[in-house]
Assembly symmetry: C2
Homo-oligomer: 248 residues x 2
Amino acid sequence: MTTAFYVPPASRHGERIVLPDDEARHAVGVLRKRAGDEVIVIDGEGGWHRVRLDQVGDERAAGTVLETRREVGEPAYVMSMGVGLIKSRNRFETFVEKAVELGVREIVPLHTARTEREGVKEERTRNVMVAAMKQCGRSRLPSLTTPRALPEAITHVEAFDAVLVAHEQVDPTQSVRAALADAPDAARVRVLIGPEGGFTDDEVAMITEAGGTAVSLGPRRLRTETAGIAAAVAVQEALTSSRSPHSL
Amino acid sequence: MTTAFYVPPASRHGERIVLPDDEARHAVGVLRKRAGDEVIVIDGEGGWHRVRLDQVGDERAAGTVLETRREVGEPAYVMSMGVGLIKSRNRFETFVEKAVELGVREIVPLHTARTEREGVKEERTRNVMVAAMKQCGRSRLPSLTTPRALPEAITHVEAFDAVLVAHEQVDPTQSVRAALADAPDAARVRVLIGPEGGFTDDEVAMITEAGGTAVSLGPRRLRTETAGIAAAVAVQEALTSSRSPHSL
């Protein structure tokens, strides 16, 4: 299976697809694609196309759609993840890359009581997301919102079937799986992960009072990026298995 | 909760504990610990001690054990993870750090058909493991074996209650949770993760013929380190939940 090319919907005209300059250079200059070759193109909005290239130049590649599918590589649910901003840009980018691989649809950087960074490098982070999307075989580019204060992230709790907050003080039996046991068909889930040092008790109380459920990600103290990754996996395991013939 | 100090059992003499030089320097020079202060000491073999320091010098710190517990922060099962060696040292170290945080007990670097690296920097990797152990609140230092050929990793399958191999071609409903549904009390689990490009079909066949179960980590193509992390979380979710009052 090959890496897909990212072509936003604006570059598609009916069955004609023109690769953006950088993707064309990569296709032609690096991967040596030629007229007649088939490539996979994703539009970042759930569109997946098998395309035959027919016009290939030094910095140009265009072709015709042979087959279109929708939502390739996408989960059946929407997972929005609010994550406290952390000091290390490397660790934040590790989280972002893995979140894309693990099907997260929206990343909401959070300002919280213990946050020590103001914002994210948007373009740089978006590049990480695009690369991960192309590599892992999904067809949607997750969104990265501007940083929000925690209260903003819990104002519309009713828009989600479940809002989970990871908290170190919670008994390990209060797993994500247990929390989602009553919502096996959840279509929209929001998960909140604290920054280094975690959410304060007041913040956890604010979230649970707004309708969120405190969950444990196990008996160890996880770094922020590890907690975000672990929560994404746990949600995937809980919601995928419960829809499978292998679940109880 | 503070970071623990790592003091191997050899530095404990009855109720007396002498911190190794580097831990003493950190305790005294960086954290400004003084005689009378309490610290947490772990021995990397499941021992956890609350210690009162009584001898504190420029590069020396020693004290007396006030309380001892066993297996603090450790899972009820032993997870051994065989992981194909990958080119990027950074990505391998990301995996190692997260594996420690997520309770993995043994890391076995694997030589496979698609492996492109010979070995790991042992001391450097061990330092990552020690730091993660201290930070995450567990009391065991996971072992890092020398790299093994894949066949060696499946010669004693009977030593494990379950051997799982992550494979991209497997239906996503064949989750880790489904695979462990028949072994909710598993005490020893081995998980095998391929290198970049994955295991070959022949390798997966070899593993399943030896008694392993092929599992899916979801419908997307995960990088090696992401797959390792995801598998560790999935095993934790499957085995912890099944022992909890919240499980079915």
